[in-house]
């Protein structure tokens, strides 16, 4: 049994009913602002926005299968210094997990932030979303996305489908949110569940005057288990395929052959945490003569240089924290399947340290703690 509140969906319009709930947050003065995906008037684009005026929440569309960027970075901008008034952030489960990692790296704080997250059924890659959203005016495309899922047609539409990152995501429901908006295990055209996961969440529901009742969540649990099962199956196939595709340096070079060192994957990554990336500093402004020396040593030097070096170093930095959002692939102009690569390696690294990125604020990041007696196999059994 859990304490569950409900949002009653009017006229099968899940989007506007959810907007009404968000409006309540501002109306009741529970928060000063809401960070949420908003449908921009231009071309149906969807971007996160910090909304303080209730009217603007009429364009909020947290359920849109659009994922322009990982909002954890935005929330980190808002919380790197103490906030004087509470705000709510409506984010995907992977955005919340990325934010948890950033908080642990002191690049954000959960004080005065209420984290709200709807079950995530996936999002299209950025290039495809524009195509898919073109289908209907405004939030209509969001509603048809869910109708297709409910009716069993699935997520594919207009020769596009949700991204491989979403298909392989085993965390469709947020664990660290104060409030989960449940779509699974309910008829989302009639009701949305409001599940308080923390005391903060419970207090919020009470402040908003949401009626909560004890309810079993069995239906939700089996729907969630089924979805997670499917995704893990997809994920494990992806891991196997990717491991095979990069099993030697030769193959890795082939895998990265289209990379032009633009570093977009790093910029888009919410957990690539360095304030200044060493690859953009003068450490990598090599002397002109150095290039010639390198070229002479091997007969030819591919330019730009340091591509494999960049990706391996990036892996050393972020693989313990990768939460699998797929924004790296989303950002790559040359369709290098970087998410598959990074997630595959990250899975091994996190397993080796017994760590789950984004799972909890308490678990310490693997590279920020160390003990005298551990990993003695690294030094040949001597500690």
């Amino acid at each position: 049994m859990s304490k569950i509140g409900k949002i009653t969906v009017k006229d099968r319009d899940t989007v506007s009913s959810l907007q009404d709930f968000l409006k309540l947050l501002l109306q009741k003065g529970a928060v000063e602002a809401v960070l949420v995906q908003q449908r921009l008037a231009i071309n149906n684009a969807v971007m996160p926005a910090l909304i303080t005026d209730i009217e603007n929440l009429g364009q909020a569309d947290p359920l849109a299968p659009a994922f322009a960027l990982n909002g954890a970075r935005m929330l980190s901008r808002l919380t790197r210094k103490p906030l004087d008034a509470p705000i709510a952030a409506v984010m995907r489960p992977c955005e919340i997990r990325a934010f948890v990692e950033l908080v642990k790296l002191k690049q954000g704080s959960v004080d005065n932030v209420i984290l709200i997250s709807a079950d995530c059924l996936g999002a299209y890659p950025n290039n495809d979303y524009a195509k898919v959203a073109g289908m209907g005016a405004g939030a209509e495309s969001t509603l048809s996305f869910y109708r297709n899922i409910i009716s069993g047609k699935g997520t594919a539409a207009q020769d596009a489908d949700i991204s491989p990152a979403c298909k392989s995501c085993e965390h469709p429901a947020a664990v660290n949110a104060d409030i989960t908006i449940g779509l699974l295990g309910t008829n989302m055209e009639e009701n949305l569940l409001l599940i308080a996961n923390t005391p903060k969440g419970e207090k919020l529901l009470a402040d908003l005057g949401v009626k909560v009742e004890d309810e079993p969540l069995d239906g939700r649990k089996s729907a969630l288990d089924a979805l997670v099962g499917e995704r893990i199956e997809y994920r494990d196939r992806m891991f196997a395929r990717t491991s095979e595709a990069v099993s030697s340096v030769e193959k890795l070079m082939g895998y990265l052959r289209a990379c032009v060192n633009c570093h977009n994957c790093r910029v888009a990554c919410p957990v690539c945490y360095c304030r200044e990336c060493v690859f953009t500093t003068d450490v990598f402004d090599h002397e002109p003569a150095q290039y010639l020396r390198w070229a002479k040593r091997r007969g030819a030097l591919k330019m730009p240089t340091d591509t494999v070096f960049f990706h391996l170093t990036r892996l050393a930095h972020m693989s313990a924290a990768c939460i699998g959002c797929g924004q790296c692939s989303n950002a790559c102009p040359n369709d290098v399947p970087v998410m598959e690569l990074f997630r595959t390696v990250a899975h091994g690294v996190q397993g080796a340290f017994g760590y789950g990125a984004g799972a909890s604020l308490e678990d310490e990041p693997p590279l920020s703690v160390f003990h005298e007696k551990e990993f003695c196999e690294v030094t040949g059994g001597h500690d």
Binding site: L256, R257, K302, L312, V345, V349, A352, V378, T379
Partner: protein
């Protein structure tokens, strides 16, 4: 394969292994001349990218060697280094780097014999593995 001379890049701590290596040299302990030593103020300063770079440039193996736990002059630099090594031993083999090309040891300042023995063993092991062919191939 076995008759090439491997190059081992050794990142060694100034306070312990570097002194041990010096001792090994002055005591004329036999020691293959395959090691290129990089003297660090502490193994905690060995950034993973130094190790990655060494391997991409064709080093046949990388050794990181520092003070025994409890003896690090910066309290826990060696323990940090051990976690970083653990990380690289997880990442690099995914791309076909043999884990044996990455070694970490604790060798105190007076342990010249240990240093000589470590290098001898490593050289033999890496010889058996064969050369890291990235030395001659273009790396993207």
């Amino acid at each position: 394969m076995g008759d090439y001379e491997p190059t081992i890049i050794a990142f060694v701590c100034n306070w312990c292994t570097y002194t041990a290596a010096d001792l090994a040299g002055t005591s004329r302990l036999v020691q293959p001349a395959n090691v290129r030593m990089v003297r660090m103020m502490c193994t905690g300063m060995v950034d993973p990218k130094y190790i990655i770079k060494a391997l991409l440039e064709g080093a046949d193996a990388v050794l990181v060697s520092g003070c025994h736990p409890g003896d690090c002059h910066y309290i826990n630099g060696n323990l940090k280094a051990r976690r970083r090594m653990k990380l690289l031993k997880e990442i690099l083999p995914k791309f076909g780097f043999d884990e044996r090309r990455l070694k970490m040891t604790w060798i105190g300042a007076s342990e010249g014999i240990d240093f000589a023995e470590t290098v001898r063993q490593m050289t033999a092991e890496v010889k058996a593995l064969g050369p890291n062919d990235l030395r001659t191939r273009m790396v993207l």
